[in-house]
Amino acid sequence: MSGHSTYNPTTGFGKFMDARMPIVRLVHDSFVSFPVPRNLNNWYTFGGILAVMLVSQIITGIVIAMHYTPEATMAFDSVHLLRRDVSYGNTLQSWHAVGASMFFIAVYIHIFRGLYYGSYKAPREVLWILGVVIYLLMMATAFMGYVLPWGQMSYWGAQVITNFFSAIPLVGDTVREYLLGGYAVGNATLNRFFSLHYLLPFMIAGIVVLHVWALHVTGQTNPTGVEVKSKQDVIPFTPYATVKDAFAMVVFMIIMCYFVFFLPDYLGHADNYIVADPLKTPAHIVPEWYFLPFYAVLRAIDFNIGIPFTDIVLIDSKLGGVLAMFGAIAVLFFVPWLDTSDVKSANYRPTYKIFFWLFAINAVFLGYLGSRPAEGIWIPLMKASTFWYFLHFIVIMPLLGWFEKPLPRPASIADAVLAKSSSDTAESQAQS
């Protein structure tokens, strides 16, 4: 797909470098002459947006770390002194905190775009799996970052989430103690979380390189789901994709700045403006919004699974909840094989398209349920919504591939594009 390199060094220095370390050739082939399908829509711009968000988070994070004190009695105040007394500290801290949320908004759109256009199907399974690994690392990074301001939600969120690990049979408590550096969340926890929060983004960056590499081997999918067949189907990355991604990025940045400057607390939680107090549990402990669907899955399993007619419990509700929650992410790894259809794009899969949107609505609803207390009507709703989440991947996806009758697909991308543009011209001619 990446094909023949078209880079042609002209200057003496260019030729010198090209014979020794062809880094300019690499950049040229990857981001200038790299062929992209000509029919990519705006949903395909989120990959670039995510790359920018990662860099933005790393840069703001490094500067914040210069002002932050990872010590339990000083962490909370150090964040607020940064906001109050440091030039641009207020903007910087908001940018990083809101940036985390925007990062997740972008990654969710990116994942759903992949699910809609079948971006996980052969030959892109490894590309997809690398993406899921990035998503997992992002979740770990975001969780540990949220602990650092050492507010009430930081502290109690850490308490709840590290408790998951104690559900693992036999070694659970040991794992939890290593994670916490003690028997409860404390200064040792804060120190190691700070260290790991600094480390993980660079691991993400490393896997992003692999993700982009895999992408450049297979090439991008496109809204028709038909693979690139000839030069007619593609255009060079620069200037076409570059300018398109840049425009999308700036629009995304406008939305981000709206939150950073006008609603900096909208995406956060008020309780995190109260300093962590190990003796006072908040009325409702809720994670950040981007974890809410998984939090609902966790709490949906409130029953033990055991051997019937005996009192033997195989999986208690706690382990069951944790397994379901991690399962909800783990199932994404198997999506390339759970989807049995050859047709990539949902545009040509009328039934899958309906189920895709049902799944998307259900996922948002699951997020809303995650913010509700586990009581009354919310518990059966959490169960139903969780059930649908897994049903979609484990039953609906495999079955649809066998039973669904896809619509006829265009022969090539160029065909699809030209058919569309000629019908457009026909229409405009008919109108005039």
């Binding site: 906001r83 207020n90 076409y240 840049a246 006008f262 609603l263 909208y266 019937p308 059930f387």
Partner: protein
Amino acid sequence: MKTVFTKFTSKFSAVIVASSLALAGSTFASSAAEDEGGTPHYPLMKPVEQSWSFAGPFGHYDKAQLQRGLKIYTEVCAACHSMNLLSYRNLSALGYSEQQIKNYAAEYEVTDGPNDDGEMFERPALPNDRFKGPYANEKEAASANNGALPPDMSLLAKARAPERGFPTFIFDIFTMYAENGADYIYSLMTGYQDPPEGTTVQDGLHYNPFFVAGTSLAMANPLSDDIVEFDDGTKSTVDQQARDIAAFLTWAADPNLDQRKQRGFIVILFLIVFAGLLYFTKKKIWSDVAH
């Protein structure tokens, strides 16, 4: 093995039946859940939305109002509540001169040291000192108030934000609503009332349906008409005091608000122009390619 499976499936089919029923009835049931649910939901009454000078894209603090708020804090709240994140020098944002701030700070004695003899000593506070709290430490604060620790007020306006509920929280994005904390403080300050019949209030607590964590709170109604005399001649009603202290605490929690909103306006204006230029560049570049 088979029994395990049957139990599993029966459990799941029960879940499906229950949940489909639940889904069908969810529209009306969701409100019912609040009544029958385990833990009651506080506050009993949501904060009453007020109009604030610092709301909206061009919002800014009203310095006269903040000065009145400071006076209320100094004469009423500061008897119990600390304000640890603020320094006296921050008061310049309220329009006070350097000398006025020095005078204000000098009324407090702070512990400094050790001096060259190795001894701690008391001296009048300077503008770069943090606000001196009423108690030596949290234990003393709690013990002086029957075990109920008066919270530090530096971030109170951000730390108290009762849930807005669906769908209001979605509209809030577009209306730029971020004054939940101020509305809460205003409502709490004006919300003290006799408990309705049938509600018992524990000894030492005071009924207030706006309180975020219960039906009543340890703090007695702190405000009353003319408890503070305003220097600018504003009539000192409870309503006015509540409004001014809410504004002052909002400033204390978010002192950079004016600057943040101005900066945001410029940044977004720039980005919109930039986006426009990129849009036309893109249009030009893509004009020769059918897509």
